[in-house]
Symmetry: C2
Subunit: 261 residues, 2 copies
């Protein structure tokens, strides 16, 4: 069993109510990462909804989650023929940590025209990207996830300033094939590109939305993240993910804020 | 009282439960538009949450809403010092039509650095944009909202094909100053740019997310909307809104699908 599957495995305690032990292995300074929590909420919804694939998912981060026991409560909001909608709440103690709203469908049954005029993938080929010499400080992520950074991005990891962009390639270290659940994780698994502009800050996510557009090929995933508008300490970050075949597989956006560390 | 305020005015029937008569004046073929419903849900949340400004809001459209009596139920998810989160459900009969999750804050109290490297506004000046000769068929919107289209966009309204882009300027016909509530409306008040590519379709929205970044100046709002990825009949559309002073005020994205009309 792969690590991501093991660490998002849910025991159903009652209809719509799941339990698990939140791992300390997917985070920054022990706090479980936002992408991991979104993937966890989505998996719980996948257990309750009749459709297999998350199509669009929004998580609001209410309070930091912590390693330890957690409950995920799921509400089926609507079951339709081609799509269904549900809500998940990740709770620890008596406090809700994350609320997640998502619509599911079946990507394999989508039919209709395809026309893609969006920007081409800005990420250079894998062999042109560089591993970090050391993991970002405090991150347990780097033990689970392998990344290669596009030259000229992730400047702050080299102690430099730069444009608020981070791109490269990412995959699970344990060989887990990419799928829709790992795309949700990879939507928030990168260092915040705003750290190329400002240092010594935390960047807590307020809200993360992910659109899952295709089931990815199993290998590496290319990602590109940009923060175009830092305004009075609040920032939006846009990301796109492509699979090894060069197909756009997911788009994501988050609203976050700077917080003195 | 301005039309948008009158038509989103809510009577509190019980704590967290509001009633109103849904107008037929903000829609396409009598169905209230998604941006209008999102603005309505946000206003209900504004009555229940301690912070004044929606910062990020996501609506999932479960079933079409109809003109007539409606209830909006609001849940306060979390009240914090700098932000709060709530959920609204728009219900008609015994069926939930829209579920909305949003975090509110106070934009006037945001403090921190500003650095904007996002793309400049692609919308030409107002005087270079054109009114439509007639309203889009079936739209009651055009009686409430005045728009000017950027040359070369909205091709389908002239019976032509074109790039999946629509831009221009928009404001309320009755002189209502732009504010955060009208930005939510303007995030989904434009013809879908995908209609420049494919004709004779409906484009029902599955999910709409709006980030409100600044309180706008009161005048015209410039908007630019693009559909970069139409995949198997499903599409993501990105929009940005700027105020008359040229400041980015909101960004939005929706997931929608094509449906034969």
């Amino acid at each position: 069993m792969f690590e991501l599957d093991r660490d998002t495995e849910l025991r159903e305690e009652a209809p719509g109510r799941f339990a698990l032990e939140l791992s300390d292995a997917w985070g920054i300074y022990r706090y479980p990462n936002g992408g991991f929590l979104a993937a966890l909420g989505a998996r719980a919804l996948g257990r309750a909804l009749p459709h297999p694939d998350p199509l669009t998912l929004t998580a609001h981060y209410l309070r930091p989650a912590e390693p330890g026991p957690a409950t995920v409560e799921v509400e089926v909001v609507r079951e339709g023929r081609t799509a269904s909608t549900g809500e998940a709440r990740i709770i620890q103690g008596d406090k809700e940590r994350v609320r997640l709203l998502a619509s599911f469908g079946d990507l394999s049954k989508h039919e209709g025209p395809t026309e893609e005029t969006g920007s081409p993938r800005p990420v250079p080929p894998l062999e042109a990207c560089e591993p970090l010499t050391g993991p970002p400080p405090g991150s347990t992520f780097a033990e689970r996830i392998e990344a290669r950074y596009a030259p000229g991005t992730a400047s702050f990891l080299r102690g430099e300033r730069g444009a608020p962009e981070i791109g490269g390639w990412i995959r699970a270290r344990d060989g887990r094939p990419a799928d829709l659940w790992s795309l949700i994780l990879f939507a928030d698994a990168w260092p915040p590109p705003v750290l190329n502009l400002v240092s010594r800050v935390w960047v807590p996510t307020i809200e993360l939305t992910v659109h899952l557009r295709r089931r990815p090929a199993p290998g590496w995933i290319a990602g590109w993240f940009e923060t175009g508008h830092l305004i009075d300490g609040y920032l939006g970050t846009d990301g796109e993910l492509w699979d090894e075949r060069g197909r756009l597989v997911a788009r994501c956006r988050q609203l976050a804020r700077l917080q003195s560390s």
